[in-house]
Subunit: 123 residues, 2 copies
């Protein structure tokens, strides 16, 4: 037994409206890694249009840019996280880690009420 394999994730509903979840945070991390909104979108199997829309939503919901793009325009220039963008990513991952830690004993209890697939299909 290696403990529960259920996974906890978190969402933040901002007071200003808008929601932050694992998808947007992963997109910010990919933008940081690749230096490009379009490359980050590709890595996450979303269209450039969708990736750009999510970045615009984030910037608008925070009222501060989380991603800034270099000269060259939307498609051409590079992109990187602002200090606010980094703060969001760090705080989100810290919350997620703390939440998963506190959830662990509860997820183990859930194991007791989830039928194992192996018990139903003992192939």
């Amino acid at each position: 037994m290696t403990g529960p394999t259920h996974q906890l994730s978190i969402r933040i509903d901002l007071a200003s409206g808008g929601r932050i979840g694992p998808g947007k945070v992963a997109l910010l991390e990919e933008i940081s890694r690749s230096g490009s909104i379009s490359a980050a979108g590709r890595a996450m199997k979303m269209s450039y249009r969708r990736a750009w829309q999510l970045v615009e939503d984030l910037n608008r919901n925070f009222g501060n840019p989380l991603v800034e793009t270099a000269a060259g325009g939307a498609g051409g220039g590079g992109a990187r996280l602002t200090e606010a963008g980094w703060t969001l990513v760090r705080q989100y991952r810290a919350m997620e880690q703390a939440a998963s830690k506190t959830a662990h004993p509860h997820l183990t209890v859930l194991d007791g009420i989830v039928a194992r697939k192996a018990e139903k299909d003992p192939v």
Copy 2:
């Protein structure tokens, strides 16, 4: 200042597939309160069909019934949570409360990067 007003919520991705979030847990609580899947659906402004579908999804994903219906059929008889259903609700709410507590200082940090609407529209 009364601290952050951002709200954290949690989702559980079960090892068996399926996801538990605040909507399904609230539905279970409403079923318990009202003794009826259709009344619970109405209270949550969803169709009877949708409420029933969610209950079926839950029962299937856990491989154990979380809701049991009394004689009288899908529409006629009453419904109540099983012990497994209660366990899920209790564990979920405990995880949510613990996660919100550990998140509090991080949400306060996020306050520092979210522009207040009042600052932008000082009407």
